[in-house]
């Protein structure tokens, strides 16, 4: 059997911490090879070693049978290895084309031939059905398109060994199915792929083989055909994991959040939320289903006071909080798990303890008369770290050093412990492993059961379906329909999210239109 990549007994240490402990991974030509492991297991590290960003302390790498010594990404690129990084490696204020050609720019008499490159990019993007706008600035395009730009970067360089580090973490179902289509195309062309994802179903759908690692150690490699999600999960976590979180029926009580005719504009003055109305009651979880960029972020920012409201009203338990300061809003009973945990959720350079105090530091017991009582904050932090199983050396460790999964648990702990009437959870499980996801879902449901309201925004249909009691579908800035999980399915939701009316959706379902919504 011919291997294009062989990573043999790779060992990588950070200081005295061993991130990769003699891990072996062998990639066959033309296969999709999944790499599975918990947050912090060492997947990205292993791949960064292969891509030349890290130098391994031990082991050897063979590319197409020949021993290779990959000292930096340049070497990897030359060997035809391309990597789509977990945290996008894109220059925000560059155009798509500029990002793609960076490093080997086509020249026309001395200057960069942007026009020519743009053509080539457009060509490639058509060829693989990636549909990206070569002239758009990265900061202006959706995460999904940024993802595809990352892919184009590798294709542009003619890589035939592709590493995808959690490509689907931040994609909508549509985008995911598109991505899967793309990967299949690539394989058809004889390329080989290593795929990191926390979504077992994806692995089952697309991969040929799976290598599982746990806490830096290789657990083993299995043929996808001969395994199942449950087995994979227990392999990586080391215990049984339940996927569909149990939850009893909801008993909605009085109204907590009431939004009437809300209109919100983005920086450029374009209306992103259009005359939107929504109401949530205590004891229920309302899921907002929708494709990224349909106004979810603006809606949440408006509710939480991070963005100005153009027109309309937002009431929280009857109190008008339209265009109030964030603090006044949080104090009137809103908890907020922000979409971007690194930008809004945490002060990464603060210890995790300070971060847990971020919303409450200014009032007793955490401070009295303007004087901080850090010991009180730490005590609280330690409670939360214990209760929410945040894996860290303790309250003093900088938030930066925690895995996103654990960063996320800390944030959830912080917000839930403030005991808000309404908990807004935006993409709360993005990038987390199944264990962490299960944990977080359980917490959201607990909130509901204790008579709180939860507003869940997610691009993951199954998440919305599993967790919410009611699903409000957002399209082009307004709620076009509200459905009950029991009475709908992924196809219908998908169609609604694409802007079709329920009738149309139903009709199409009859005609048995495509399983996958392209």
């Amino acid at each position: 059997m011919e291997y294009v990549i062989e990573m043999l007994n790779i060992r990588k240490e950070f200081g005295n911490f061993v991130a990769n402990d003699n891990i072996t991974l062998q990639l066959r030509k033309g296969e999709i090879h999944a790499l599975l492991g918990e947050n912090g297991a060492g997947k990205s590290t292993l791949m960064n070693v292969l891509f030349g960003l890290y130098q391994p302390e031990g082991g050897e790498i063979r590319v197409r049978g020949k021993k290779a010594d990959i000292t930096d990404p340049n070497v990897a690129n030359k060997l035809g290895i391309g990597m789509v990084h977990q945290h996008f490696m894109l220059v925000e204020n560059f155009t798509v084309t500029e990002n793609i050609i960076l490093g080997n720019e086509p020249k026309k008499n001395g200057s960069v031939n942007v026009a020519g490159a743009a053509k080539k990019v457009a060509e490639l993007s058509r060829q693989y059905g990636l549909n990206v706008d070569p002239t758009a600035k990265i900061e202006d395009i959706s995460v999904g398109m940024q993802q595809r730009v990352e892919i184009l970067k590798t294709l542009y360089r003619g890589a035939d060994i592709l590493i995808f580090d959690e490509p689907t973490a931040s994609l909508t179902p549509q985008e995911i199915s598109e991505l899967i289509g793309i990967m299949k195309k690539l394989i058809a062309e004889g390329k080989s792929i290593i795929l990191i994802t926390h979504k077992l179903q994806e692995i089952m759908d697309v991969s040929d083989r799976v290598t599982v690692i746990r806490k830096g150690k290789g657990i083993g490699t299995v043929e996808t055909a001969e395994t199942n999600p449950e087995q994979l999960a227990s392999m990586m976590v080391g215990r049984q994991v339940t996927f569909k979180t149990e939850k009893g029926p909801a008993f909605p009580k009085e109204e907590v959040l009431q939004i009437d005719g809300l209109t919100v504009e983005d920086i450029r003055g374009i209306a992103k939320v259009k005359n939107l109305s929504l109401s949530i009651r205590k004891g229920e979880i309302v899921g907002i289903a929708g494709i990224d960029g349909n106004g979810q972020s603006e809606l949440i920012e408006a509710i939480t006071g991070l963005r100005k409201v153009k027109s309309g009203k937002i009431l929280i338990s009857g109190k008008d909080i339209t265009n109030r300061k964030p603090r006044e809003i949080t104090e009137s009973g809103i908890g907020h798990i922000p979409q971007d945990r690194h930008k809004h959720g945490l002060v990464l350079d603060f210890p995790i303890g300070h971060n847990i105090g971020l919303q409450t530091y200014y009032r007793p017991p955490y401070s009295k008369g303007g004087i901080m009582d850090y010991s009180a904050i730490e005590k609280k932090a330690e409670e939360i770290i214990a209760q929410y199983d945040v894996r860290t050396q303790g309250p003093h460790e900088p938030a930066r050093a925690l895995s996103g999964g654990n960063q996320q648990k800390a944030i959830i702990g912080r917000e839930v412990e403030r005991d808000p009437d309404l908990l807004i959870a935006a993409l709360p499980t993005r990038g987390l492993d199944v264990g962490a996801i299960e944990f977080i879902h359980r917490r959201l449901i607990e909130q509901r059961d204790s008579g709180k309201a939860v507003l869940l925004v997610s691009f993951e249909l199954d998440e919305v379906m599993n967790v919410s009691d009611r699903i409000a579908v957002i399209y082009d800035g307004s709620i076009i329909d509200t459905v009950l999980p029991a009475e709908t399915d992924e196809q219908e939701l998908g169609l609604l999210m694409a802007g079709h009316s329920r009738e149309a959706a139903a009709r199409q379902a009859e005609e048995g239109v495509s399983k996958h919504v392209e």
Partner: protein
């Protein structure tokens, strides 16, 4: 080798390296480094007078360093300490000379005047940054020149066309018979206590108060701070104002301690700019600032004695000082080296 150990060794080695290279410079330019450094040593610690003057020199550096450091902790680069120092100097002298009050009121009042003036001078850049996102560096640079010319003009107006202000009254002076007799007529004054007190104040604000918590948070991550309900603008302005107050105090130390009056100035004092290095050498921590200030102050004052006692020209001395600063700044390379050898030792 333990980390604490290394942390202590790095600056020490840096200073030594700087002095070594400085010695080479002196040799190449035909001067005797040994004599030079002996002179430097005597210039700093030679006798009670030298020590007194060295401490006097360190005093404004501590405050200027605190000013820069404090702003940096909130993510602001206050390059306008120089100007804030100048207005602080003038304000303190004005109050010190224009009013006649009992010492226990007059002195604090004069000191406060200095702080207030500095704070005021830093308020505008803060405001422009907070409200219009105008970069503080450029505004503070401009404010430096404005301070220079405006204060000169004020001195003229006040002194009726003269070149210097009246002398402050005894009741507003930081100097004391006791200290100068202790140090053989040096100009050592109680300002050093003010400076050290301010070190504590900065530490207290940053590490103990909610304000400090907010200032640091905003400095690290504006978005998260806003999310957490902090007022970004307010914190930016506050930080500049406090920073400016420290700078103004540095001026007050010159006005009420070292000089007792103020002359029209042809140029800047330089203390404000050196304060930038002082702060960063001290990693923007209150204690670190003391280290930076001691280094700068000692070199600056002690080096006066090198031309005096060893006939080494001013210019060479300046080169040596610059080299020391340079090497201290390059501490990382030394740290790297130290950890390497300590590793190798560990390996064996």
């Amino acid at each position: 080798m333990s980390n604490r150990m290394i942390n202590l060794l790095v600056p020490a080695i840096a200073v030594i390296l700087g002095l070594l290279v400085g010695a080479i410079v002196m040799l190449l330019s035909g001067y005797d480094p040994v004599a030079g450094y002996i002179a430097l040593w005597h210039g700093i610690f030679g006798d009670s007078y030298a020590i007194g003057e060295t401490i006097r020199q360190i005093t404004p550096y501590i405050l200027a360093g605190l000013a820069v450091a404090f702003a940096f902790r909130t993510g602001l680069f206050n390059i306008g300490v120089e100007g804030q120092l100048i207005v602080g100097w003038f304000a303190s002298v004005y109050v010190g000379a224009a009013f006649d009050l009992p010492k226990f009121i007059h002195l604090p009042l004069a000191i406060l005047a200095g702080a207030a003036a500095g704070a005021l001078w830093a308020f505008l850049p803060g405001l422009l940054k907070a409200k219009m996102k105008i970069h503080e560096v450029i505004v503070t640079i401009m404010m430096n020149y404005i301070a220079l010319h405006v204060v000169n003009a004020l001195i003229k107006t006040w002194s009726g066309g003269g070149d210097k202000t009246d002398r402050i009254l005894e009741s507003a002076s930081l100097r004391s018979e006791f200290l100068s007799s202790l140090t053989d007529y040096s100009r050592l004054h109680y300002g050093i206590l003010v400076a050290l007190l301010m070190v504590v104040v900065m530490w207290f604000i940053l590490e103990k108060t909610t304000t400090g918590f907010e200032l640091k948070a905003v400095g690290f991550n504006e978005h998260a701070s806003e999310y957490a309900g902090m007022k970004i603008g307010k914190n930016i302005i506050l930080s500049m104002v406090i920073s400016g107050a420290f700078a103004g105090l540095a001026g007050a130390m010159e006005g009420l301690g070292t000089f007792g009056n103020m002359y029209t100035r042809g140029g800047f004092t330089g203390i404000g700019f050196d304060g930038i290095a002082v702060a960063l050498l001290g990693a923007n921590t209150p204690i670190g600032v003391i280290f930076g200030a001691v280094l700068f102050g000692s070199l600056k004052y002690g080096s006066l004695n090198m031309p005096n006692a060893a006939q080494i020209p001013e210019e060479v001395v300046q080169i040596v000082i610059a080299l020391v600063i340079f090497f201290v700044a390059c501490g990382y390379a030394i740290r790297l080296f130290l950890t390497k050898i300590s590793k190798n030792k560990g390996a064996k």
